[in-house]
């Protein structure tokens, strides 16, 4: 077992860290929120230059053939910096597109798909993917045969990464009925209603009103599509855990610093035993989060390499999401409380961390959702 980064991974991380330190401080980040709608084309283009956007895509498709583990440190850095840009969503969509194309080489939509992937890797366009979370307040989408092609219908609320995406990858059905479609955001019967999320990132409600799609827009189907979709879902969650590790690291450090420097009653408040115990607990949570992020990412890569079953991967990722989701809430609440009134102030980075942790813990699924997923995976192993 080896938890250390290799040379390539270290180099990428160092470059990314430099970029974020120099160009993603609090002031710069606030400016991106206020005047750039939470998306900086300059930063996105630098991420492309660094190779971050191409990392998890196969070499055959022009990527670096990397995996979740390669992205662990970069996502941690993004978490620490409270990156607003939809990096996880884009990376996951690219990976999904890549794998779906590979799974179904004869699919009609391949040319469109490969062209799109190429543009996505270079940062020229952005992708997002959506999937039915059936039965939750009408958040669902279905694809039905319609003449020679397909008809897509449904509604999905608050999709991260959808605002500004040129194309959506829409995953429908499961198993033999699984399908993956490429839908241009500009399609007339597709409505994207953008907005800001609680964490200042951009989201969009997506409405498919009987979107007619020629067969060519379906780029994968059946078990191959289903496998690519599940891989992408777990991959995205694993990256989210890695982001959480970096963000929780920041929250712990900031809170520790505050406890050491804030004086009341003539002493640093960190000298109070009650608070010492509480921040120690946060550091213990941090290590568990790091461990589970590493587990989730390595299981994603192992499954992709055929070393373990997909269910084993799904179980590990679900476990990580449960632990990380609970830790995210706890660290958010405790770090604000330990900051006292200042923790509530918008001008403090810790309050931004609170909001991102709140959203992150529930992104792509809540703790309850992943508990169910873990139990189901556990039972079928």
């Amino acid at each position: 077992m080896d938890f250390e980064l290799n040379e390539e991974q270290r180099q990428l991380s160092d470059s990314l860290e430099r970029l974020l330190t120099q160009q993603y401080g609090i002031e710069q980040r606030n400016a991106i929120i206020q005047s750039q709608g939470s998306f900086s084309p300059a930063i996105w283009s630098k991420l492309a230059d660094l190779g971050v956007l191409s990392l998890p895509v196969s070499e055959a498709a022009g990527g670096f053939g990397g995996g979740a583990v390669d992205l662990m440190k970069p996502m941690g850095l993004a978490g620490q910096a409270l990156l607003l840009e939809p990096l996880i969503e884009h990376l996951t969509a690219c990976r999904l597109l890549d794998r779906a194309l590979a799974a179904d080489p004869a699919a009609a939509g391949d040319e469109v798909g490969s062209g799109l992937l190429e543009q996505a890797l270079s940062g020229e366009c952005r992708l997002a993917w959506v999937r039915s979370m059936d039965g939750d307040d009408g958040n669902a989408c279905r694809a039905e045969r319609s003449g020679d092609g397909w008809r897509l219908d449904g509604h999905l609320a608050s999709v991260p990464g959808a605002d500004g995406a040129s194309h959506l990858l829409v995953a429908t059905g499961s198993g033999r009925d699984a399908g993956l479609f490429i839908v241009a955001a500009s399609t007339p019967s597709v409505t994207l209603r953008p907005g800001s999320a609680l964490d200042n990132r951009r989201i969009a409600d997506v409405d498919f009103a009987n979107v007619q799609m020629p067969t060519g827009q379906r780029i994968a189907s059946g078990p191959g599509a289903a496998a690519a979709i599940e891989d992408a879902a777990d991959f995205g969650s694993a990256l989210l855990c890695a982001e959480a590790a970096g963000l929780i690291d920041y929250a712990c450090q900031a809170t520790l610093e505050y406890l050491k420097t804030r004086k009341q009653f003539g002493v640093p408040i960190g000298s109070f035993q009650a608070l010492q115990h509480r921040i120690v607990d946060l550091y213990v949570d941090l290590e568990q989060v790091r461990s589970m992020a590493a587990l989730a990412c390595s299981k994603c890569d192992a499954a992709a390499a055929g070393q373990i079953s997909e269910i084993e991967r799904t179980k590990a990722v679900a476990a990580a999401r449960v632990l990380v989701g609970k830790a995210a809430t706890k660290v958010a609440q405790e770090s604000v409380q330990l900051h006292g009134g200042m923790g509530m102030a918008e001008e403090m980075k810790i309050s931004h961390a609170f909001r991102r942790l709140t959203v992150l813990g529930r992104q792509f699924g809540t703790v309850d959702f992943f508990l169910d997923r873990f139990i189901a995976a556990e039972r079928s192993l």
């Binding site: 958040n139 999905l156 800001s196 009341q264 006292g340 309050s351």
Partner: protein, 391 residues
């Protein structure tokens, strides 16, 4: 042992309940129920309705407008207001400055300020905390120098709720920097917010809202007659306030109403194709919260009963604030959870349902303040450890 209200108390409760039902303006009730921000006009409207009824200041002496209710009736009234979804009353004038003036103020101060507070003609805010003095309030440094017939005030207050539209501020200031005991150098001063030298800077909270401020004092001149009680006795005044009217800090009535709203809201939401209230995990969370609230309510009534018996509540009353705020926070958390993906969005929501859901995340963020303000829950535990357990 009888956990019920007496017949008289129950009759009083019904009287209050009936009047509230008929008197809260529907548009205000709607705003409160859907967590919309109440502006100054909204707050004044409700204040005036209560003032007209004669119920805006129940705990004041009758000569100044009080209702001559006993402690149980006062408690019932506050709880029923919370339960009915009445707009909150801004406490700084009615429940803080006024009791102080009644207890310690000169006749002139009472005559000048009490009627104006009663009729909502003056909005008050509280100048206590400073950047360097939060939990350790006695370390405050805003100085007030006596010069002939006035005080000249220099310093800064923080977390001043409604400082941006208050007419007056009551401040703890330091009039003597040389006392051996820090508390003995503190005085209680009433300051006109229109005084030259006062500036207010908004302090935006993490929900994006503007409710608190920093207030800066730059050579602000305050007439000496605005000193309340004696110079150097400000801490006594502040302590009096802390011990005053502490039985409603649990906010039981309001939380019961929140819980009922949450149940209705959750019943209309779906998870896995079924109503959210039928989801076992969510149902458990809801039930546990309801049970905690039941316990808090009974505990609150037991404290009230002690008061009936003529025994003022001891340090244990701090537990009402601790548990009460934890429950308030948990209610906002579950409401956010119940709204699912809709609560992720905070801007550009279309339609009342989506707009309501879009307020739940910011509300969850905003309520993190409840365990921090009015004496943080950590301080409340310190108080209980020291005063109740002798540790």
């Amino acid at each position: 042992m009888d956990l019920n209200y007496s017949e008289d108390e129950a009759a009083f409760r019904n009287q209050v309940r009936t009047w509230l039902e008929a008197s809260i303006p529907p548009h205000l009730k709607e705003k409160v129920a859907t967590y919309q921000e109440l502006d100054r006009e909204d707050l004044l409207t409700w204040h005036r309705i209560l003032a007209k009824k004669g119920w805006v200041a129940p705990s004041w002496p009758v000569q100044w407008g009080g209702t001559d209710w006993n402690a149980v009736q006062r408690y019932i009234f506050e709880e029923e207001c919370g339960a009915a979804g009445a707009p909150p009353l801004v406490p700084f004038g009615l429940a803080m400055c006024a009791p102080v003036l009644i207890q310690f103020g000169s006749e002139q101060q009472k005559k000048r300020f009490l009627p104006r507070i009663y009729h909502g003609e003056d909005f008050w805010c509280q100048g206590y905390s400073e950047p360097g003095s939060g939990s350790d309030l006695a370390s405050l440094k805003t100085r007030a120098e006596r010069r002939s017939d006035r005080y000249v005030v220099n310093g800064q207050k923080i977390w001043t709720t409604m400082g941006h539209f208050a007419d007056w501020i009551f401040c703890l200031v330091r009039t003597d920097f040389g006392t051996a005991i820090r508390q003995e150098g503190i005085s209680f001063l009433l300051i006109d917010m229109k005084s030259p030298g006062i500036s207010v800077r908004p302090l935006i909270l993490m929900d994006g809202g503007h409710e608190v401020n920093e207030v800066f004092f730059d050579n602000v001149e305050v007439p000496a007659e605005n000193l309340v009680h004696e110079e150097g006795k400000g801490w006594t005044v502040a302590k009096f306030l802390l011990g005053h009217e502490r039985l409603n800090t649990g906010r039981v009535g309001a939380s019961k109403r929140e819980l009922a709203s949450l149940k209705r809201f959750a019943a209309a939401r779906q998870r896995n194709g079924r109503p959210l209230t039928e989801d076992r995990r969510f149902a458990d969370k809801l039930a546990e919260l309801e049970i905690d609230l039941m316990a808090l309510e009974i505990t609150n009534l037991r404290f009230l009963d002690q008061l009936r018996g003529g025994k003022p509540p001891g340090a244990g009353v701090s537990m009402l604030k601790i548990r009460g705020t934890e429950i308030q926070q948990r209610l906002t958390e579950l409401a956010m959870e119940a709204a699912g993906a809709q609560a992720v969005r905070v801007s550009d929501a279309e339609g009342p349902e989506a707009q309501f859901a879009a307020r739940l995340g910011p509300r969850y963020c905003n309520f993190r303040k409840t365990s921090i303000y009015a004496g943080s829950n950590e301080i409340q535990r310190n108080i209980m450890a020291k005063m109740m357990l002798g540790l």
